[in-house]
Amino acid sequence: MKKKQFTQILGFSLLRTCACAVILVLAVILYDIASKGAVVINWKFLTTMPADGMTKGGILPAIIGTFLVTVITAILAIPLGMGCAIYLNEYAKDGLITRFIRMAIRNLSGVPSIVYGLFGVILFVQLMNIGTCILAAGFTLGLMTLPWTITASEEALKNVPNSYREGSLALGATKWQTIKTNVLPYAVSGMLTGTILGLSRAAGETAPILFTGAAFYLPHLPKSLFDQFMALPYHLYIMSTQHHSISKVRPIAYGTALVLIALVFTMNLFAVILRYKLRKVKME
């Protein structure tokens, strides 16, 4: 009897330690980046161009570049992702094709980001000949984000009660009319929540943009979607490995890391708040 209790106490402590270890890891990561990055962050850092061989100045072009690329990612991933989810949830019947589609989605989410990069180089940069630019990088990231948007959108569609659909159809509306007026409006917020999470992941990716458009140094902000761009994750990479004086710019690297994490964190927070608001609305 005593032994059993003793083993339980030991076992529980072990599990508790595991959980604490995980939380500790996150704490260490955030502390290191926040403490060493915060010293560099000020309004100037966020709004000026890099200067003096990128040893001074700010990271504005990287912030803008990441923003632009993420917008293009969204333009590709949102409509195509929602469309696929609508098909799967509203139209598709259980069959071989549907199983194939679902299998494809699961596998696409497991494809390494560098393989998406390879694909993007061949398809967008070379075959479609748009060169290395914001569009090419955005499209590549868009493909990578598709599985996320589809999964999130499907969840949102599933949450719309069937009675909404049945009621509309009973009144004589066509399938598409039903979807447009009785399903989509209620699912859109949920779709966007998942999409934003996917976009936040895309904003932090480096491998797909390595060869599709990211640049070491650009003197102006990109003036067109066919221009190359600087991006936060790529900037962090070059500041910590390729730059002339990596120890001198270490603080800038930390600052970039902090801005990147803050961006990803903010997008996640936005999605969570959206999800919370959505749940509140549903309950009323």
Binding site: P219, K223, D227, H244
Partner: protein, 312 residues
Amino acid sequence: MNKAATFLIAFTLMFLGVSACMAAENMVEIKGSDTLINVVQKLAETYMKGHPDAGISVTGGGSGTGIAALVNRRCDIANASRGIKSKEVEDANKKGIDPKRVVVAIDGLSIVTNTQNPIDKLTMDDIGKIYRGDVKNWKDLGGNDTPVNLYGRQSNSGTYDFMKEVVMKGEYSPNMKSMNGNAQIVEAVKQDPGGIGYVGVGYVKDAAGINVLKVAANPGLGYFSPLNSMDVKTGNYPITRPLNQYLNGTPKGAVKDFIVFELSAEGQKIVEDEGFFAVPREYQRYNNDLLGISDNLDSSTTKYSVEGRDGA
């Protein structure tokens, strides 16, 4: 929600529209060598201060990347810390590109070791042996009993190629750690008592916290340091190389203007400030021929001999 989406879409369409009009942007695209990237970026920055409507973008990736981009018409200038290879020239000609070379700086490729390493000079032969993996411990060369830790660049780097062709005359030991940039090599060797690395001289001009070895072409000749500009310019230091920029055909317009700036007194001062060496007479003449500038240099008898790959 809908409002935000509409706004976003409208904004992007506007951007697309504006960008379509501005697609003919006169941006000079420079890609390539990491050895050159910082000095060219500095040159570009200074140039644009004086010419506000010029636009120059600089990307790295290695000499191989730059030349590949030039051949595939994705850049205007390819930075290269080595000469173009015959296979690359073939590819270029096949695709209708006529690669022309400009020499923008001279580099004394420096061999660096940790301050705890008592050895302060080596022959080219020794360096070759070390990097081929034939020497595994510093004591074999009269140093401490520490294993040798090799640091080098990645295969897309011109410095990697140059080192291999000229100094090692053999393949790299697979145990070499390939770093992404010159600065990373310096950082690593600073912390590693058994470390050795090769970097462009521009990265060790301060030589703080690191040993820059003196090198002799042969044990009979003298040992010279790359930090001594006279020795580099006269060719005494055996591991010197021209730092090149490759272009498609004779440069014109914005590209030519920038290159003229790079080779001007102001530009060459920036080159020296960044730790490299200015282009000597012989190369100046060659550059001017390419650019179609008459040169008013006196035919001085300073013979400049550069050992190393020279763009064949």
